[in-house]
Symmetry: C2
Subunit: 875 residues, 2 copies
């Protein structure tokens, strides 16, 4: 299907002429979903400017603009650029219409007219042509099928003739070639209709992924060629029809080309009605994250540029081309001459905008270092070259600027899920973007208390029907996990005080009561946020030292949980020594599969009574210590303790703990900030624990990873403990943007998207859970690796604890640094939790992508181990 | 300029025929900026469906769609609807082209053909016609200027002939009128070009505000008429050209009509390239907050509806009309017959979508009550009828659903600025909406630590060049004011420990050190947020009681500040008794203007030493009380203490306090969450204090009121106290969405918008402050009002403390309830802080709007006082 790559890498050196050469098919990547291929392949160069030429509609003169820019670039006597690459990915009406052929012809003509003493090397190459179009081009004299069988001359694949048509010539009288024009049509069809229709009718459909990979190769033409004054190549990619016209597969072109996010020129509409069409097309590009550098349109005497410029507030220059002669016999030479100053200006804008972008990309790391104060970051450990410049995101992938290889934008899988917030695939991101625009325009933000508006109401409805189903009756909104936890604690404490009739004895004013001390029950290794209230609910850790927060007191009874993990191929529980669990039989502490760990039948295990008595004893100890001290709330991260090091707590222990607290009228809080919304393969991690809380906190993935929003859900009983006659009895906690419309709208979209099997291919609707994303066998293999202490795989999460010497364990450990740097080179962006590393995908990520990442990790682990041994030997 | 209103309210009763009647000009509202008029005027009915008909381009058959819908509505033998109102706000090419004339004619013809036994009353009315168009209509035989002088027959205003052309007829043989068609053209021009060009060329420009007010009146036709099955009227508003075609004034129509946010039908493009144009037009409507209910397009044999439906995922139905005959002599009767089933479907979609909207609006208050848990709200005090249903926001105005008057959507000024967050005018809201779409598409959210991306970098740059100018060198991002304060405290404490060499003595592990107690210096009445750390930094209040947060301890030295306010026309200071300031002369404690309060020359006042010694004494007392207790940070809200009751603290006191703390090496934090970004008329309230902090917190208005984002700015010295070799020395505090791209992008836009005099009409660029927004004289008058204890006006804030008996003062007071309910009826949405009420506008709000609100308040205060006296007498 693809021409030989060498042709594409250095096309001006290897001339392919039809019927002279025969090529074997180059081995290509296996067909697979689009995103699979992004991983390492979809980079593009920044060695020279590449622009996409879009139009507001068909027939507005995109190709004339391309030709004019080509003329401006390579036709002057001392050309500012020595090479122009013109790429037409999709051409219909072929061979009668060929935009690359038009550019090739026109520029040749213009060259002879303007610069006859010099020499231009020009070529036109059509790479893939549908069979009907190919037949039309060469005549219908022989059967394609036959030739394919013999392996001679022709062959066809997916309905395309795949050698293409190549033509080149030297133009002008010069001895040496001064400038070069390379024109390429990637795919061509016969009928002069939209590519999606032509593809269907001619039986020749190009998958988006194939198109992108081929385009990527075409974009490599001219990499690294530098003229005297710097960059000497300009590349133009001309789209077909309007900005949102479907491509071959039916995807809109503005969506299709988005992974490259090339800077754009929009050819506007100078006709009656053209202002509207131009603005709308501009907006379709903008809300897909494109940068539009200039708008250019043909003069139709209506001065459409005036309202356009005014509306765009001069952010985007609007240029006007002279009227195009309507006479089809006109060779346009005169028009090109008249237009040249406009094209010179346009080219100038494009070059200077490119240079500005490059300059900015280069200065960003230094500026960031100078003025940012990154959270959780020791600035001294981040030299300039370690700063990652993120140019954009598409689905799970960052587009990152790299200085090497003449500069490029390359894709990296965001395997830390940007602090566990991310979920959207490309389609959801596009949808969310449009909805963010809609919601901002419709609501911006509006006051929440005593008011109701659609996004907040729908969001509350979806939360109560989803993660709160069966127990929650109220939604309290705030901004992040930490505030959601502080609210949950206030709710739980009030409930406890009411249930235990402690409120009655209190003075009704706002004096501080020191006779009652309320404590939380929480687990060692837990993490609930960084604000003081949330911190006080967690056990002492690196985050809570006096250096960090001198006000931290740790107002809790902190229990040590049993931890589950896969070690050397087996899932097993590590039980804290305190619990005296030496007698528990092996069958009850190790498992043949992860599912067994979550099995309800474990309620009959002898561990239950061991857990129960440990819990009772700890609660008793604590309440005995001070007369007025009460355990007034239980707070746990169900199943996975994230920041604590991706620790999987034995679900049986947590279930037992909940039961014990219930028996003592201690309200139960689940902190699902990390675990909620399919992170662990189910919508709410409570489903894995097989029990329900009184209060639960959600944030992070709730908005699909767009913007901050948190919700604290509560039962009706909890809510009722705040109802009364006085405003002072109400829960007086709120943040300015409580239930802000944009966050709620993003949440509504994401919640629905992830739980709909039409949009989430990973969902098994009957079971209401995600299919296994991390290859079970490979996970097992990794757990045997000598560099690995333990592994966890559950839902979208895969984690590895690296084997280290004791002194190097924990949050401050830098042991994973070299490993992660290698993985970044492989296109996987990870962040460590000390000596624990993890990969986190989205609920819609393809298992193929996960497999590829695991494979890469395995390879790098080998190197890592090897290095360590070497180092040890050196010492 | 407007026809007599009676004509518009009940047009079918008052028939105006040219040359028969002469009307005097009805007195109209004075010309004034658009938003001024919104306040009470721009409501529209929900008694029947009103739809806007938009198109992707000109010439796609909008008028045929209108006519088809009219036919479907009122032409069947038992019509589902009895009345069709067709409004064409802007008509060019008049009188040759008249879309309302076309609908009038076609429906009459169709009626005779389909339903000759019944009777239709049809009228066509053109209200305002440009002089050239009017001349063409009636002939060029007399001079308009002459007639205007005599006041007879014709008159013209702003280039329009203002009586209009009216025609009506009874169609059919029935005796009683069964159905009615009312067609109106609001403004017409002669040339068949875009309205903005025709307006300019014919010297007849309609201001947006005039157009909206007239449209509002037209929309009132048919209010409250109910058929058997409920609503019996359908109203269509047909736009001109494409969705983003400019109107008469040059504003794009999609922006121009936005305040009504009518549900929409989009006429798509069935031609080659039409998929793109249709999707782009759809998106232009969506990112302005419109609801598009259906797309309808003409069949051109390309099946454009297939990719459109697929792309829109069936959210929006796409209907296809038969090809329209190209022969201009075709009377289209056959085409209308063929199309009728499509129009019936379309009408069905429109009616059911309308009904769904109405049903939802009605159920929302109840659902909200059932599942929301509003912050700071005693649910028992909010009955269903008190819940405000907010349908949308446009600039400073909510569009609110009211059940009364057959149901309507009405505008209310958001005078609580939605918890002090709001700032955008309509143009900024549109810009922000597009930018939210762009940023979501380009970035979504990406990981912040160790990374850099454009919105975060630009935001940090703007913060340091703006509110942090001259002192700050680092930006730390978080989610809200409360987290920004917790971060600020951690920064200040570390700085204090380093400066005072206390860190060296500490154990380097994470044990809790109880030998050192750090306290904040803060003011009584201050408020810094609702998370525990922020609460502990404030003095005990209604928010901090044991009921609310049992963990609150109040770790501060809380000083009592002197308060400034205007009482009975004079600005004066109330100095706490403790300060022994009885001897201070009157000139030093009262001021002839507010500016005097802020004058630097007050540094020579005798108050300075009084303040100084009070501060010294309090700090000494506190540190003396425990050996290891240190005042380790000062935190103040500069100038205005918001939640404390809109208290204006004497700036001289705060300046003195800062100086005293500096002398003691106590780091200074300004909590500018409320005061930042022009809230007080300057970009940063530090400018009013004439001194700078070490650390400052910003949030709320920073994003222009879009979404949560906060920043804690710090000096380099503060930053350096976290730099070291260990990660554990870094500031380990962060939230998932730290520096999220959408928040940063919104902040960049807003920060630039408010400080640019081209976009902010209130800015006095030379002085870098806002002009006075609250009429000084009226504020003074209000301060004399017997119901008023004190007033404050500063920047965008105006506040009043109501005179109440002592027992009724404070946060829990409900005394303002009746007053605020009246003000809501007047279209002003306020929320009380106990017995303090306030109005807050945006940095761009017109002083005229503020004046109107003050006037309204004054009137209602009179009533309020009167009621109170009556009640007192009754008792």
């Amino acid at each position: 299907m693809f021409p030989h790559p060498s042709l594409l890498y250095t096309p001006s050196r290897h001339f392919l002429r039809r019927r002279h050469h025969h090529y074997r098919h180059h081995h290509l990547l296996p067909a697979s979903p689009l995103l699979h291929r992004f991983l390492s392949t979809l980079s593009h160069t920044l060695s020279h400017p590449i622009y996409t030429i879009w139009a507001a509609n068909t027939g507005l003169g995109k190709t004339l603009v391309s030709a004019g820019l080509a003329a401006s670039s390579i036709l002057s006597s001392s050309p500012s650029l020595s090479k122009l690459v013109y790429i037409k990915p999709l051409q219909t009406g072929f061979p009668l219409d060929s935009d690359s052929g038009f550019v090739y012809d026109k520029i040749s003509q213009l060259f002879l007219q303007r610069n006859p003493q010099a020499t231009l090397l020009a070529s036109d190459h059509t790479l893939n042509v549908s069979i009907p179009a190919a037949k039309l081009k060469i005549g219908n004299s022989f059967s394609v099928g036959e030739l394919e069988e013999t392996g001679e001359g022709w062959s066809s694949k997916n309905g395309f003739e795949d050698f293409g048509f190549y033509e080149e010539k030297k133009v002008g009288a010069g001895e040496e070639v001064g400038s070069e024009l390379i024109c390429k049509t990637m795919y061509a069809w016969k009928e002069a209709i939209s590519p999606h229709l032509a593809s269907e009718r001619e039986g020749a459909i190009v998958e988006d992924s194939d198109l992108l990979v081929l385009l990527k190769r075409c974009l490599e033409i001219g990499v690294g060629i530098k003229g005297n004054g710097g960059s000497s190549v300009l590349c133009l990619v001309e789209t077909a029809g309007g900005v949102a016209s479907p491509g071959s597969s039916g995807s809109l072109q503005c969506d299709l080309y988005r992974p490259f996010r090339l800077p754009s020129i929009l050819v506007g509409d100078g006709r009656l009605g053209g202002i509207s069409g131009t603005i709308s097309a501009y907006e379709s590009l903008i809300i897909r994250g494109y940068d539009v550098v200039a708008i250019v349109l043909e003069d139709h005497g209506l001065e459409n540029e005036v309202p356009l410029s005014s509306y765009l507030r001069n952010r985007v220059p609007v240029l006007v081309l002279p009227s195009i002669p309507k006479d089809p016999l006109d060779n346009l030479m005169e028009w090109f001459d008249e237009s040249q100053s406009v094209f010179d200006s346009l080219k100038g804008i494009m070059l200077s905008s490119f240079q500005k972008r490059i300059d900015r990309l280069h200065e960003m790391p230094k500026k960031a270092q100078e003025i940012f104060w990154w959270p959780f970051t020791q600035h001294k450990l981040v030299p300039e070259e370690k700063v990652t410049v993120i140019d954009s995101r598409c689905a799970e992938y960052f587009a990152v600027h790299k200085v090497k290889d003449h500069g490029c934008i390359t894709q990296m899988f965001d395997a830390c899920a940007s602090w566990w917030t991310q979920g959207p695939d490309a389609a959801l991101q596009t949808k969310l973007a449009r909805d963010m625009g809609y919601t901002a325009a419709r609501f911006g933000h509006v006051m929440f208390p005593e008011n109701v508006y659609e996004p907040a109401l729908e969001c509350a409805e979806l939360l109560l029907e989803g993660v709160g189903k069966g127990w929650a009756s109220r939604a309290y909104f705030s901004d992040n996990g930490s505030t959601a936890v502080e609210i949950a604690l206030k709710m739980a404490f009030r409930k406890f005080l009411v249930d235990n009739k402690l409120l009655l004895d209190l003075p009704q004013d706002n004096t501080i009561d020191s006779s009652i001390e309320l404590k939380v029950v929480a687990l060692v290794g837990s993490y609930h946020g960084d604000t003081l209230g949330a911190m006080d609910a967690q056990a002492p850790s690196s985050y809570t030292g006096f250096h960090q927060q001198p006000w931290y007191t740790g107002r809790g009874i902190f229990l040590e949980p049993p931890i589950v993990s896969m070690c050397d191929g087996v899932w097993k529980i590590t039980i804290p020594g305190k619990m005296n669990a030496e007698d528990v039989i092996l069958e009850e502490r190790s498992f043949s599969s992860r599912d067994e760990v979550f099995n309800k039948s474990r309620d009959d295990s002898s561990l239950v009574s061991i857990y129960s008595s440990y819990i009772s004893q700890e609660l008793l100890l604590s309440s005995g210590s001070r007369k007025f001290s009460h355990a007034a709330a239980l707070i746990i991260e169900p199943v996975i303790q994230g920041a604590g090091g991706m620790l999987m707590v034995d679900p049986l222990f947590q279930r037992t703990l909940v039961k014990e607290c219930r028996n003592r009228k201690i309200p139960v809080i689940f902190d699902e900030v990390l675990t909620g919304f399919w992170r662990l393969g189910v919508e709410s991690a409570a489903e894995l624990l097989l029990c329900q809380p009184d209060i639960a906190c959600f944030a992070k993935l709730m908005t699909g990873g767009m913007i901050p929003l948190a919700a604290t859900l509560a039962t009706n009983a909890v809510f009722q403990s705040f109802v009364g006659d006085s405003k002072l009895k109400a829960l007086l906690h709120g943040h300015s943007y409580s239930a802000h419309a944009l966050g709620c709208a993003a949440a509504c979209n994401s919640i629905k998207w992830f739980k709909d099997s039409e949009t989430n291919p990973n969902l098994i609707p009957e079971q209401n859970l995600l299919r296994e994303l991390w290859d079970t066998q490979l996970v097992q293999k990794i757990s045997f690796h000598p560099a690995v202490q333990r592994t966890i795989s559950l839902g979208t999460l895969f984690a590895v604890e690296l084997t280290v010497d004791d002194y190097d364990a924990g949050y401050a450990s830098l042991c994973a640094t070299s490993l992660l740097l290698k993985l970044r080179e492989d296109g996987i962006f990870m962040r460590p939790l000390g000596n624990v590393i993890y990969m986190m995908c989205g609920p819609c990520t393809s298992p193929e992508v996960c497999l590829r990442m695991l494979e890469t990790l395995y390879t790098r682990l080998d190197e890592f181990k090897h290095e360590k041994i070497q180092k040890a030997n050196e010492i």
